[in-house]
Amino acid sequence: MNVLISGGAKNGKSYYAQQIARQMASGQPVTASGQPNADHGGPYPLPLYYIATMIPHDEEDHARIRRHIAERDGWGFETLEQGTDLMGLVRPDAEGKALADPKGVFLLDSVTALLSNEMFREDGSFDAGAAERVAADCTAFARATGNTVFVSDYIYGDADRYDTMTEDYRRALARVDRALAQVCDRVVEVSAGIIEEWK
């Protein structure tokens, strides 16, 4: 099952995403609450991957990454660092081997960071084609794996109009969200930890 999760910052999206990804990997039916059975810390019948999208730039970033890895520790996630080129995770190399098993369960946290990495390149340039590319990559990844939880961010409620680059980014993320909402089996919004079912 592919799932798109969105909502505001610090509303419990990542926590909920981790819960249902663990349910999916354990072969349990995914429940609305996402609460796994008590005994789950892995190993699971299916490989369980956490796709880390942050590209660290300084010690603060490294510290945050260490904290996140520690939080996931004991939950049975294997961390895959992939800040760009999502499909690169399941693309077979010359020997037919890929970085990850597409039959596994994937948690991508977050679409927002992935788009940012693709749109605002390391060399400081801006890639206007990132929206379409990331939308295509994410939907292809959903189809290739069939078992991915995508976490995005709801950044569409401001009264202020931002600079062109920021508005381009908001529009691009909405483009990716809407493409994912079409291919995902389930779309949920998390607010204050409460799940609103959209699809």
């Binding site: 798109l4 969105s6 505001g8 709801y154 950044i155 569409y156 409620g157 401001d158 009264a159 202020d160 109009r161 931002y162 600079d163 062109t164 508005e167 908001r170 529009r171 909405a174 483009r175 969200d177 809407r178 994912l180 909402a181 079409q182 779309v187 919004e189 959209w198 699809k199």
Partner: protein, 156 residues
């Protein structure tokens, strides 16, 4: 009247077209005065991404255009709220006066209530004006729909 609201870029107009089978959508004019923040923001359309809006400028004079209710739906009522704010008028009251024109229509508005409190005074006032307008329209609506990631849901 059917009210459809949602955040920027969520696909509200596309949803209205698909779900309600409407054919004609009129666009609210962008405010005549420049908006704070971005040069192109007057013509920027958060209600739909590719509508090719006409700009609401008339020389240097600020013109308040009332929404055009000749189509099946009116999109971009947040731009009307913005224009009213700049003109010192209450969008809710002007809409109430126009009720005969829209009571059988679909109205589409961008919800701008959920972000950071704007630095700019006029934008702060617009944010509140838009909220009052949404409250009024929702109270008058037979159906209220919210659009999220392109998906519409009837919430009343």
């Amino acid at each position: 009247m059917i009210l459809i609201f949602g955040g920027a870029y969520q696909g509200k107009r596309d949803f209205a077209k698909e779900h309600f089978g409407i054919e004609t959508v009129t666009e609210c004019a962008a405010p005549g005065a420049e908006l704070a923040g971005a040069e192109d923001s007057g013509a920027e359309d958060t209600c739909a991404e590719d509508s090719g809006l006409a700009e609401g400028h008339s020389g240097t004079e600020t013109v308040l255009a009332l929404p055009d209710f000749s189509g099946d739906a009116v999109c971009g009522l947040e731009r009307f709220a913005r224009a009213c704010t700049e003109a010192g008028l209450e969008a809710r009251d002007l809409m109430e006066e126009q009720k005969a024109g829209w009571q059988d229509k679909i109205l589409i508005i961008t919800d701008v209530s959920q972000g950071i409190v704007p630095m700019d005074k006029t934008t702060r006032a617009f944010r509140e004006m838009n909220g009052r307008l949404m409250l009024y329209l929702a109270s008058e609506a037979d159906e209220v729909w919210r659009v999220f990631c392109g998906i519409g849901k009837r919430i009343r």
